[in-house]
């Protein structure tokens, strides 16, 4: 599709940091859904004379990310002013980091099938988000409306090395990066809402290694949009070059509706950011002791954890990956598995990835909102494993635990779901079943032995699922032969 051309892809990921307050002031950074200009003060609304003060937690989250991405963290870092004008940028400059970012030269390993891919990270830096501009029509006039609630929300930019990558690889990289950021608790991974934003640079390298101009595609608010827009650009640029035309260096946007990239109307008509050190903020000295402390708090990363789930718990790679996709789910699995070690880990994996995730999906709940304490799940699975209740009864119990929050044994007792293994009771039960189904008894004796299934079913039904099907079967067979 792209003929002799090889795509070179670089990614810029902006991630809002999960702090309580903004990057440089005490306004709440949880602005989502708030009425316009209700999360603002002198600092984030750019009032004359206001001064920024760095949020220590934002620095920590940035450093944590830099460490997780194997970046080199400098001994000293600083902030710079990036000068450009736009109405959503209240100071006329953005406080960012230019030549001393908090991390540079790292990488992220991720997996596609059995392949482990390493993509280089150029840098990680801290900055502040801008306000939000919407373009609209007021009384027939085309105007832009500005809301500064988002202005000053802590933002981290992660820039990758440009590498020869296919759209699927870019997609899986961002997916893996998103997972890492969520694991670290630095970002909520919400591409749709824009708390994580992806821009991509793509150029094609020709058959003789010649570089062509790069195109930046912005406004990618899903993994799918990222993959599709890259595929589209590779095709578009390839066609242009094959036809002897040149690719224009420009910024394009992804149109979800048209499934294509379109040239973006430019934001600024003259570009020259004129970076210089932010005089209002003394430099940051990063001490080894701080880094050691952060490293100590760093959770196990998803790919490592998935591997461990296979080796330590004997899970299938599939189950391991599903469970480690989100940190709360993986934590849940491990807490449940530790609560009762007599139940094999794969049983936990089966139930969590099966019925429990189905219930979460039906209720549209996130993994951290599982209403069943892991110890209670362990108790339930133990009841099933020891034959106290049947598997089918177990599903009913799980459903009720999910809605009521009650413990398994309470539900089992109340609904009398404990399996009946008492031979006297089952003796009577099986006699009744045989007496009620003379036709099937006849068939069995003529050699059609598989009707035993139906007879067991009848017995289970009249016991309301509480009979132990294996015991019933043994009894029936003994009586029929």
């Amino acid at each position: 599709m792209n003929g002799p051309y090889v795509p070179v892809v670089g990614l810029e990921v902006h991630a809002q940091l999960l702090t309580a307050s903004k990057m440089f002031c005490g306004c709440s950074s949880r602005y989502s859904g708030a009425p316009p200009d209700t999360h603002c003060c002198a600092v984030c609304a750019g009032m004359p004379g206001a001064l920024p003060v760095v949020n220590a937690r934002a620095v920590e989250l940035g450093l944590l990310t830099a460490l997780a991405l194997h970046c080199t963290v400098p001994r000293a870092s600083k902030f710079d002013r990036k000068n450009y004008s736009y109405p959503d940028l209240p100071k006329g400059y953005q406080i960012s980091q230019y030549d001393d970012p908090i991390g540079r030269g790292g990488f992220l390993d991720y997996r596609i099938g059995d392949r482990v891919i390493r993509w280089g990270i150029t840098r990680v830096h801290l900055e502040e988000d801008t306000g939000k501009t919407t373009h609209t029509d007021v009384d027939g006039r085309e105007v832009s409306l500005v809301d500064y609630n988002r202005s000053g929300v802590p933002l981290m930019e992660i820039v990758t090395d440009p590498e020869m990558r296919m759209p699927e690889e870019a997609r899986e990289f961002v997916s893996a990066l998103r997972q890492v950021l969520m694991y670290l608790g630095v970002n909520d991974g919400d591409l749709q809402a824009g708390s994580m934003r992806v821009d991509v640079n793509i150029s094609l390298t020709g058959p003789n290694g010649e570089r062509n101009p790069k195109v930046e595609v912005k406004n990618l608010n899903s993994l799918r949009a990222l993959e599709r827009s890259l595929a589209y650009e590779i095709e578009r640029q390839g066609r242009l070059l094959a036809g002897g035309e040149t690719v224009e260096q420009e910024t394009r946007g992804w149109s979800e509706k048209e499934e294509k990239t379109v040239p973006q109307r430019t934001k600024e008509y003259a570009h020259d950011y004129r970076y210089f050190p932010e005089p209002d903020l003394p430099p940051l000295v990063i001490r080894q002791a701080d880094l050691d402390r952060l490293t100590g708090t760093m959770p196990e990363m998803p790919m490592t954890r998935s591997g461990r789930f296979v080796s330590q718990y004997g899970l299938t790679p599939f189950h391991a990956q599903v469970l480690t996709r989100e940190r709360p789910l993986a934590d849940y699995f491990e807490r449940a598995a530790a609560a009762d070690r007599s139940v094999p880990p794969r049983i936990y994996a089966n139930w969590i990835t099966g019925d429990l995730m189905r219930l979460l999906g039906e209720e549209q709940r996130a993994a951290e909102e599982i209403p069943i304490p892991p110890e209670n799940l362990a108790e339930l699975l133990s009841l099933i494993e020891t034959g106290e209740i049947s598997g089918s009864a177990g599903k009913q119990v799980l459903d009720e635990m999910f809605t009521s929050g009650q413990a398994a044994h309470a539900i089992v007792e109340r609904r009398q779901l404990r399996q009946v293994a008492d031979s006297a009771a089952l003796d009577t039960l099986t006699d009744e079943v045989l007496a009620a189904n003379p036709g099937m008894v006849d068939q069995y004796r003529k050699g059609k032995t598989n009707v035993i299934q139906a007879l067991v079913g009848q017995a289970m039904k009249s016991s309301q699922g509480r009979a132990n099907p294996q015991v019933v079967r043994d009894l029936l067979e003994r009586k029929l032969n």
Binding site: G92, R274, F276
Partner: protein, 490 residues
């Protein structure tokens, strides 16, 4: 009867504390004087008489309850670059003519907590860019010593208000000399504290790595008292130093015996007016007569400090003034689109000097020029700082002229920016190094005030104030009052 407007801060303090006068009387006397003198001086952009009198009433009550702070009841003036809630803060600019801040600068809060009475907001060069106060959108300020001459700038309004007794004291800001230079030209005391000694929160930024707030007073003792109130750490200013505030007044012992006074060769070169030289040399003799020892020193990089200043300060100003775009506050002129709105608003809102500095700042930071200008200037800044470090290894203070000439006629240098910039040649190096200096009246040259500049180590305001105070007690130069104000009060 005593002329209430002739009182110094410490003088007024005594009378107020002994209930011999009330703050309301003192405030009203100053408001009356402002009424009489302002048509000639134009030191204030806005007089807030009602607010001042209300504050005076509260101060009188507080003093009766015995809860008054050190500055309680004493009328003062604020440079109109300090953010005051509910009172327009124009920075001497059209672009902020109608801007009403919704918060107070930290210094304004500290003054309020001490019971200060604010008479109004003083005139200034637009966004503190200037050395003559001719760059104000609200007209030039006239020097009370000679109305045809400039009072210096950019805190020309504050210096003039204090010199003419339109206020007991005032706050100014100093980026390259903007407190010391007008203080020298109006015969007042002007203190630029160490960078970081006073919070900049709410000081509308001109050049953030240089700006500092300080007092303009009629005595060194008053400057010490005001500094004690406004200095100190502030969680809202990351560059405010986290150092304890000493009792500056207690440092004024009058004893400077054995003190080593550095005399920098470079401060007595060709550009120095011969009469000013004589006055400053006489001042050094006075210090020696008080037991100080004069030590010749050299500050070799100071000849480059001015160039450094005119790279670094416009660069920072370019960014600091980018926010005046007609979107959130201030002047806003509609255009064909947003970009023309920006350009038209800034064209109409900024004066010529501000535009020059913005363009200059844009130039020195623009692609391809950063290393040649900005980085180079920062390196030279290091050299300037090292000069002082080395000098302070040998001496306790450095003494020289504050300005090369006394006040010059209004209009004399407006068309020649470079000549105008040379006014700051002796003051700029101090800002570059982030250290402290005070200008103290040293006598007259052809009837115009001359200031002597006493430069100290970082955070060593105590020593320069002690030297200034000893000098003042010995000479009484600070008691000289401008002739025109004498006529008015007569």
């Amino acid at each position: 009867m005593i002329d209430l407007t002739s009182l110094t801060l410490s003088g007024a303090r005594g009378l107020l504390d002994r209930r011999e006068i009330s703050s309301v009387e003192l405030t009203q006397a100053h408001l009356d004087r402002i009424d009489r003198l302002e048509p000639q001086l134009n030191a204030y952009i806005r007089v807030t008489g009602d607010i001042a009198l209300a504050q005076a009433v509260r101060a009188d009550e507080a003093m009766r309850r015995g809860e008054a702070g050190e500055l309680a009841g004493i009328p003062m003036a604020l440079k109109d670059i300090l953010s005051t809630v509910g009172v327009p803060t124009t920075c001497g600019s059209r672009i902020l003519e109608n801007y009403v801040p919704q918060y107070n600068a930290t210094v304004v809060d500290r003054l309020a907590a001490s019971g200060a009475v604010v008479l109004g907001k003083t005139n200034m060069d637009e966004f503190a860019m200037g050395s003559s106060n001719e760059n104000s959108a609200f007209g030039p300020v006239h020097n009370p010593w000679c109305l045809e001459r400039v009072p210096g700038g950019s805190s020309g309004g504050s210096a003039t208000a204090v010199a003419s007794s339109e206020a007991v004291y005032a706050l100014g800001t100093d980026t390259g000399g903007s407190i010391r230079q007008p203080a020298a030209l109006t015969g007042t005391v002007g203190l630029k504290p160490t960078y970081g000694r006073v919070s900049r929160y709410g000081l509308v930024a001109f050049a953030s790595s240089l700006d500092q707030i300080g007092p303009i007073t009629r005595t060194v003792a008053d400057a010490a008292a005001v500094l004690g109130v406004i200095a100190g750490p502030d969680p809202r200013d990351s560059t405010a130093l986290n150092a304890p505030v000493p009792d500056y007044s207690a440092a004024l012992t009058g004893d400077i015996r054995g003190l080593r006074v550095g005399i920098p060769r470079e401060y007595f070169g060709d550009g120095l007016d011969s009469e000013v030289r004589v006055v400053v040399e006489r001042a050094i003799e006075v210090l020696q007569s008080l037991g100080a020892r004069a030590v010749p020193i050299s500050l070799p990089s100071s000849e480059h400090a001015l160039s450094t200043y005119y790279v670094i300060s416009p660069a920072e100003a370019m960014a600091n003034l980018a926010r005046y775009d007609g979107v959130r506050y201030g002047l806003s002129l509609p255009g064909d689109d947003i970009w023309s709105m920006y350009a038209l608003t800034r064209e109409a809102g900024f004066g010529a000097e501000v535009k020059r500095r913005i363009i200059l700042g844009t130039y020195v930071l623009s692609a391809g020029y950063y290393d040649a200008y900005y980085r180079k200037a920062q390196q030279v800044r290091t050299l300037v700082r090292r000069d002082f470090d080395a000098a302070f290894g040998e001496v306790d203070v450095i003494v020289g002229p504050t300005t090369p000439t006394p006040a010059f006629p209004i209009g004399a240098k407006v068309d020649d920016p470079l000549q105008m910039y040379l006014n700051d040649v002796y003051t700029v190096p101090i800002n570059m190094a982030g250290i402290t200096a005070v200008s103290v009246p040293a006598g007259l040259a052809s009837g115009l005030p001359v200031g002597v500049q006493i430069i100290g180590r970082a955070l060593d305001e105590e020593t320069i104030l002690r030297v200034g105070d000893a000098f003042e007690r010995e000479t009484g130069h600070n008691l000289l009052r401008p002739p025109m104000t004498a006529e008015v009060s007569a």
